[in-house]
């Protein structure tokens, strides 16, 4: 009995020595030509055709070029693969002319056939692409010649630019290697080429030499002075920031305001901020749980009873702005003049007028998806109880809350704290969650329902930008009047980088945009 045990101990000690004492010299030797970006989630797919999560888009788009891209400095959309757009027949058709000379990583030229192939595959329900639903607006895509194609829409579609970001995949390559190989090793025409993906660890990309392979007007493309981009998954916030401090990561986004204090003390870390980022946190009132939530006076009481400025000051430490309407700073339709001042007396009056019976507990649901959610929930509870509500807090796991929301389950409670990831165009959101005939509408019996629905449908088809903006303003007015929820605040994007790189966030983008534009200093 003893001898094997002794031997085991001995072998164990030897292994221990070899493991820990010998290789002291190699403390994460940072190779100079690799830039490491930390993200909290796993990249679930690198295949453009099968994207299911919005969080995969920024990485996938590095490998694929799109027809339209946001300008890295202004955030406005400009043509990338597409040289020009022509709106025909009052928006029913859009003619796209491609740049000549753009190439895939395999060396094949990008043609109109590849564009058609990509759009058809993304719209194909069997791929489960997140754009499949939105792409139903397109009736068909007609290829005129190698560099010209026409999108035929069923009806004029005002936010058509929202469909033009899909990364174009090589049809020839796909047909040659088949879907399995394409999934594990995709080929696009982007600034970076796919090298490897290790689930749970990282995605490694390599800069394509001599990119861009064509001239884009108005796009200040530069040559990249690094070789590899490594997108590393680090799920824990604390760990990610610690790695930024030690230089194990070069770039980290979505830093919470209270974490900045420590980072600022580190002179090897640069902190940058952007307030032109879509971000919206609000409370949805859920009338299907209890019709009392439809009561306009009750909602107004909640609206006036919450001190948004205080939330921004105390919890966001000033890194945000109070928001009173359904579009944040970077989105279409934002109007800084809309505001409800915090007024406790007014809130109490509204509550008295409402049909809310004092003492009835209302359930307030939140998930961990909203940053600082437990604090904000506790704070909202305090505010609302000061007005005269009785609030019971309920934390749900994100998956459960998402399922309840989709199924309109009563267990979701009376109110829900939510975060809207943001998009430039409110169209899809309006039609999905506001239109009273939609499956996901929370409120189906607004007082001015017919007018409201008509406006939403009209703005989708209005190709004239000024007229459309006016329609959207009218929609916002009705929303504000109906009072079916309370928007709380928008948060600034804080991102930090080590002193060996430089990077600037592209305005109006919610996820890491334009990672290829990271520059190595020195």
């Amino acid at each position: 009995m003893l001898r094997p045990v002794l031997r085991l101990c001995f072998i164990g000690t030897v292994i221990f020595m070899i493991f820990f004492i010998v290789p002291v010299s190699t403390v994460s030797a940072a190779s100079d030509d690799t830039v490491r970006v930390g993200i909290p989630y796993d990249i679930s797919t690198v295949n453009m055709l099968e994207i299911k999560l919005g969080s995969d888009i920024p990485v996938v788009l590095l490998m694929h070029q799109s027809l339209l891209i946001p300008h890295p400095e202004t955030g406005e959309r400009i043509g990338a693969l597409a040289k020009s757009f022509e709106i025909l027949e009052n928006g029913k058709k859009i003619k796209v002319t491609l740049y000549q000379g753009a190439k895939f990583h395999t060396g094949d030229p990008v043609t109109a056939h590849d564009v058609k192939f990509t759009y058809d595959e993304c719209a194909n329900p069997s791929n489960g692409n997140l754009m499949a639903g939105a792409l139903d607006e397109i009736e068909e895509i007609e290829v005129k010649d190698d560099h010209t194609l026409i999108f035929h829409f069923w009806e004029a579609y005002a936010p058509w630019e929202e469909l033009m970001w899909l990364g174009i995949c090589s049809k020839k390559y796909y047909e040659k290697v088949g879907p399995e190989k394409f999934r594990s090793n995709p080929v696009g025409s982007g600034a970076l080429r796919f090298v490897e993906r290790r689930i749970g660890e990282h995605v490694l990309l390599e800069v394509v030499k001599g990119y861009p392979l064509y001239d884009v007007e108005g796009y200040p493309e530069e040559t990249y002075n690094y070789k590899y981009l490594k997108v590393i998954t680090v799920p824990d916030d604390m760990t990610r920031l610690a790695m930024l401090e030690t230089g194990e990561l070069d770039l980290v986004g979505r830093i919470q305001p209270h974490q900045v204090k420590r980072l600022k003390r580190n002179k090897h870390v640069t902190i940058k901020k952007s307030d032109q980022v879509p971000s919206l946190v609000g409370i949805a009132f859920l009338p299907y749980t209890d019709p009392v939530m439809m009561d306009r006076n009750l909602c107004l009481a909640a609206r006036y009873g919450i001190n948004r400025q205080e939330i921004v000051d105390k919890i966001l430490l000033g890194e945000g702005y109070p928001l009173y309407m359904y579009a944040s700073r970077a989105e279409l339709g934002y109007d800084p003049n809309v505001a409800y001042e915090y007024d406790l007396e007014k809130a109490r009056e509204f509550l008295k007028k409402s049909s809310y019976k004092k003492g009835t507990p209302l359930t307030f649901t939140y998930t961990s998806m909203v940053p600082n959610a437990p604090l904000i929930a506790a704070l909202i509870q305090q505010y609302l109880q000061r007005v005269g509500f009785t609030i019971k807090l309920q934390q749900l796991e994100e998956g459960t809350a998402a399922t309840y929301t989709r199924n309109r389950d009563k267990r979701l409670g009376h109110m829900r704290l939510y975060e809207w990831p943001g998009s430039r165009d409110p169209d899809l959101r309006l039609r999905l969650s506001s239109l009273s005939t939609s499956d996901y509408a929370t409120v189906t019996n607004r007082p001015r329902r017919e007018e409201y629905d008509k406006l939403i449908l009209a703005q989708t088809r209005e190709m004239d930008k000024a007229k459309r903006a006016d329609l959207i303003r009218q929609i916002q007015d009705i929303m504000s009047y109906d009072a079916i929820g309370a928007i709380l605040y928008g948060q600034n994007m804080i991102y930090g980088m080590s002193d060996r790189v430089d990077y600037t966030w592209t305005p109006k983008e919610a996820y890491f945009p334009h990672l290829q534009r990271i520059k190595i200093l020195k």
Binding site: L2, K52, S433
Partner: protein, 307 residues
Amino acid sequence: MQGYILKRVLIAVFTIFAVLTVVFFVFRLGPADPVSVMLPPNATPQDAENLTKKFGLDQPLGIQYVNYLKNASQGDFGASFRFGEPALRVVFERFPATLKLGMVAFTVSVIIGLAIGIYSAVKPDSIVDRFGRVTALAGMSLPSFWVGVMLILFFGVTMRWLPIAGRGTLLHYVMPAFCLSLYPIALITRLSRSSMLDALKSDYVVMARIKGVPEFYVILLHAFKNASIPVITVIFGVLSGLMLGSTVVVEYIFSWPGIGRLVMESYFARDYPVVQVFVIFVTFVVVTLNLIVDIIYAYIDPRIRYQ
């Protein structure tokens, strides 16, 4: 004998089957469904329907179960909802990471645990004994997510001695392995101390001393040999615990790409195929180990066979 083994194998197969069935149904009866978890809030109902169909979740539960068993018996455990790759491959790609980390943590905890345990039994109430026992208990009473952060902030950020997360060099093992072995060290220390104390008082040790055997040999050859039986039982308990997912929190904090983290993330994403493969795998390992132990016992002690 063959009849006995056959009986035990049948029970083992039944166990795996029963566990799989329970997990399959309870998992699906929970309040969340994978399609809602996966889709962004602005996805259309059409998208949801497509995805449901793609995952095969539109069929009745019974049919899903029968299909699953049919495919599983042929070695096809389905594709991961999240990654679109075979669930079996996803789990086994990440198992080596857990295995390595577990082995290191295991070695560390056995060596340190035994050393402190034996020493404090030989010299009870000495400084090492008192200090070791209280430290071991304190280590046991701190949640590992707390210890992990403290380690990162001190050794990683302030001192810059150790890399924080990821894999690569052997130094990457130090912090997660230490964090992971805190609890086993406490356990092994306590157990080896108490059984060594008993062994040191026993007749054979006294006898050995009378015979004039040097103290060092008395401790290691006579006392430890007899004290090691209960210790080894616990050591193997610790080992299987480390291998099979008590590593969740540590893997999460140190961003270690092992199966503990995978199964946690897959659970929250409701990635049924991956979690099912994990469950089958874990049950298989546990049941097989038990089976082997049972059969060995039966060989050693024939009475068990006839029970």
